[in-house]
């Protein structure tokens, strides 16, 4: 646990990351019970719900293009 905390501490000391563009994603309705339409475009910047929050994205292995 201490090692993980230390690792996290080191990570936050890393330099700021490279800038990336505001990618666009596709998202269905907020509730899974409401079917799959409409599909809306969502920009990466809109995934942040407040300032000073990090955005963690789990890129799952699902679906090849």
């Amino acid at each position: 646990m201490k090692q993980r905390e230390r690792c996290a501490e080191l990570r936050w000391g890393l330099p700021k990351g490279a800038t990336i563009r505001d990618y666009e994603f596709l998202e269905g309705p907020a509730s899974l019970d409401k079917g799959d339409e409409p599909v809306r475009k969502v920009r990466l910047s809109k995934l942040f719900t407040a300032p000073d929050r990090a955005l963690v994205i789990y890129q799952m292995m699902y679906g090849k293009r």
């Binding site: 990570r11 890393l14 700021k16 990351g17 490279a18 800038t19 990336i20 563009r21 505001d22 990618y23 666009e24 994603f25 596709l26 998202e27 269905g28 509730s31 899974l32 799959d36 599909v39 475009k41 969502v42 990466l44 910047s45 995934l47 942040f48 719900t49 300032p51 929050r53 990090a54 955005l55 963690v56 994205i57 789990y58 890129q59 799952m60 292995m61 699902y62 679906g63 090849k64 293009r65």
Partner: protein
Amino acid sequence: MCTAWLDSFNGVAHHLAQNIDLAVVAAADPSTLRAHARTRGWDKLRLLSAGDSAFKYDLGSEDREGNQDSTISVVTRDSDGTLRHFYSVHPRLAEDIQ
């Protein structure tokens, strides 16, 4: 392994939301991804399809052939709105696990 992690994240989503914004991105189209999420009960996760964007390729979770690699990416936003790729890691089993 992906599935177990996402099962877990879904279960503690409200705890995670106290500190971070979490989203799941997949190459699959929205209806395919959502159908899978329904079978797993992932009703508290933000589910996104990469669509036509190069996001997955650019951040290293996909190669030119379309092969996928599980990836956790952290993105930050400066006060002026600049988006930054802080880091990405690929979940791997420890070498000493047989």
